[in-house]
């Protein structure tokens, strides 16, 4: 008996799907659709929280990510750093991820110690930023392990948690911008660049609510549903979810970058997944109908 087309498609070689997905990821990078990446409500709230900071505000940035999550979150990081530097914010960095320190070092070299949008930057009409000087405009405290416990320690004493030294070994009392910055509650804003655990969730649970800290977070798309309840309750005052959120944030800051380029990949990639779902269900229901018909006859 001749095999029904739905049965043949059930055994469809999945390498074809891999090929289509590969093309969906690669082609938009070379031929962008250029659809506007409009920010959602949570992303706008994060932007507004940074925008409302006074000139020279003191901001703590926790960079808790690994290379795997950089495509989704790094565009937000670059955009928010530009926004903070435009406000001449004093920045203090730390990380609770053991995979992160070399990434953090690279970010210091590429986004902090050089201008992200110097005068004459093509396609950018906002305020220019300037290179930041280590231990003058910014301090990198480095890495500490200890998950929730160490985050709780940041909430009571940064000096104790980091043995009173910055990552480069400079004593914190010798750094003028660290005066008055003893614990997380002394900062005007906490920015959480968080790819998982420990990260934004632990900051909310261990210190955020207890100290009533103003915190915004950026997370991967899959973590958005984990953190969205905290935005709804006001424990996070802004939330940037995944690449779509990063692209929206870049739009708000006015400097499109990797997030905006990645949003095109997201457009086509999502369409491929939706088509795969629809196609799979058509095959499934056609096969079921055919088997019923055959059974009836």
């Amino acid at each position: 008996m001749k095999e029904h087309w739905s049965d043949r498609l059930q055994r469809f070689d999945r390498r074809w799907i891999f090929l289509v997905m590969g093309l969906a990821v690669v082609v938009p990078l070379f031929f962008p659709l250029g659809l506007p990446a409009k920010p959602d409500r949570m992303t706008k709230a994060a932007f507004n929280a940074v925008d409302a900071l006074p000139e020279g505000a003191r901001v703590f940035v926790s960079i808790d990510l690994d290379p795997a999550s950089t495509p989704e979150i790094e565009p937000f990081f670059r955009a928010v750093i530009l926004q903070l530097k435009r406000k001449n914010a004093k920045l203090v960095f730390a990380t609770t991820w053991y995979q992160a320190p070399p990434l953090v070092d690279r970010y210091m070299r590429e986004t902090i110690e050089v201008a992200i949008a110097p005068a004459g930057t093509a396609g950018y009409s906002g305020l220019n930023d300037r290179p930041y000087r280590k231990n003058v405009d910014y301090v990198n405290l480095g890495f500490r392990d200890g998950k929730g416990a160490i985050i709780q320690a940041f909430g009571s004493s940064l000096r104790l948690a980091f043995d009173n030294h910055a990552d480069d070994g400079t004593a914190l009392e010798r750094i003028p911008m660290m005066r008055g910055l003893e614990k997380l509650a002394d900062f005007d804003l906490i920015v959480l660049v968080s790819a998982g655990s420990p990260g934004a969730k632990e900051y909310v649970q261990f210190v955020g609510t207890r100290e009533r800290l103003p915190m915004i977070a950026a997370c991967t798309a899959v973590s958005t549903t984990d953190l969205a309840p905290y935005f709804q309750t006001g424990q996070l005052i802004g939330l940037v979810g995944g690449m779509a959120g990063s692209a929206g944030y870049e739009t708000l800051v006015g400097k499109p970058g990797a997030g905006t380029a990645g949003a095109d990949v997201l457009n086509i990639g999502n369409i491929v997944v939706i088509l795969a779902i629809v196609f799979g269900n058509v095959v499934y229901f056609a096969g079921r109908y055919h088997r019923r018909q055959r059974g009836a006859s």
Partner: protein, 300 residues
């Protein structure tokens, strides 16, 4: 004693961690800070124990040539390489922190010469000297006074050399430097391995998800019943609503996606979180009261 002491520690510190939350006294705060420092030290020590544990688990399997033992050799070799690359070996030697400075009396205006290898960026004051094909050699008449010469390699992992120079008319100052390679976390070898092996491998593992999600969407995501159909519908709406394409088609998609996130998703997520939190409280109470002992080992 082997069981009682850990149990006692668990009870005392567990109960203290709960109680201190409600006592805003500075003495309690100081003790809590101290305990949190202990926690950080314990977490750091856990890395060492983890290393020993990897050896204990993998070495016997390699000796017995168990299936896939070759991967375990790779694991141990990679761990050993990262350990060696991560140690600050440069501190053992006598590497020059500053460039050598030679001052000669030469008639005429103050003259500065900087010698460095071709891949070194020479910065004199605020001016970065452009690379030159003849070996990045910088040579210029300068005004009398103090100027800082900074030598840094264009790739990370090398020490930056600084030399503050005070120069007057009638002097020629020659600065010769070669920024030495660093070891340890900021060293060249560690950074190279991180940038060229760890980062691409880590990113590749995550990127493969896209392909498996697409494949699973075709093969497994079936509307077999009402619940599955609802899940499918919500997934499609979320995917359309969270991508710019959805908004380009209709403003309804982002609004619907936001509603799904705000109402059913957050409601369900909150219920799970509350349930998990109550479970965690119950487990913590069992540990504090000494009822739960599984964390002390199988024989406890």
């Amino acid at each position: 004693m082997k069981k009682t002491l850990p149990l006692l520690f668990g009870m005392v510190f567990g109960a203290y961690a709960v109680i201190e939350f409600y006592i805003p006294h500075h003495l309690v705060g100081s003790l809590s800070d101290e305990l949190r420092s202990w926690a950080a030290i314990l977490a750091a020590a856990a890395f060492i124990i983890g290393g020993i544990n990897i050896l204990q688990v993998t070495w016997p399997k390699i000796r017995r040539r168990e299936p896939d033992w070759q991967y375990k050799v790779v694991l141990l070799a990679a761990a050993a390489v990262m350990l060696l690359a991560g140690l600050p070996w440069h501190k053992l030697g006598d590497t020059p922190a500053t460039p050598t400075v030679l001052i000669e009396a030469v008639p005429g205006p103050a003259h500065l010469v900087v010698n460095a290898p071709a891949d070194v960026t020479i910065q004199v004051g605020a001016v970065i000297a452009p690379p030159r094909p003849d070996g990045a050699r910088y040579q210029a008449d300068v005004g009398p006074g103090t100027v800082e010469v900074k030598l840094s390699r264009r790739v990370p992992g090398y020490r930056t050399q600084l030399a503050p120079i005070t120069i007057t008319d009638g002097q020629r100052v020659t600065v010769t430097g070669d920024p030495p390679m660093l070891w340890g976390r900021e060293g060249r070898v560690f950074v190279w391995i991180y940038d060229h092996i760890f980062s691409p491998s880590n990113a590749t593992m995550f990127a493969l998800l896209a392909f498996f999600v697409a494949s699973a969407a075709f093969r497994a995501f079936r509307a077999r019943n009402l619940e599955a159909a609802l899940l499918l519908g919500a997934a499609i709406l979320m995917m359309l609503g969270r991508a710019p394409l959805g908004r380009a088609i209709s403003d309804v998609f982002p609004d619907l996606a936001q509603w799904i996130l705000d109402v059913p998703s957050n409601g369900g997520r909150r219920a799970i979180m509350m349930g998990a939190a109550i479970g965690a409280i119950a487990t913590a109470l069992r540990i504090i009261l000494g009822i739960e002992r599984s964390h002390l080992g199988s024989d406890a």
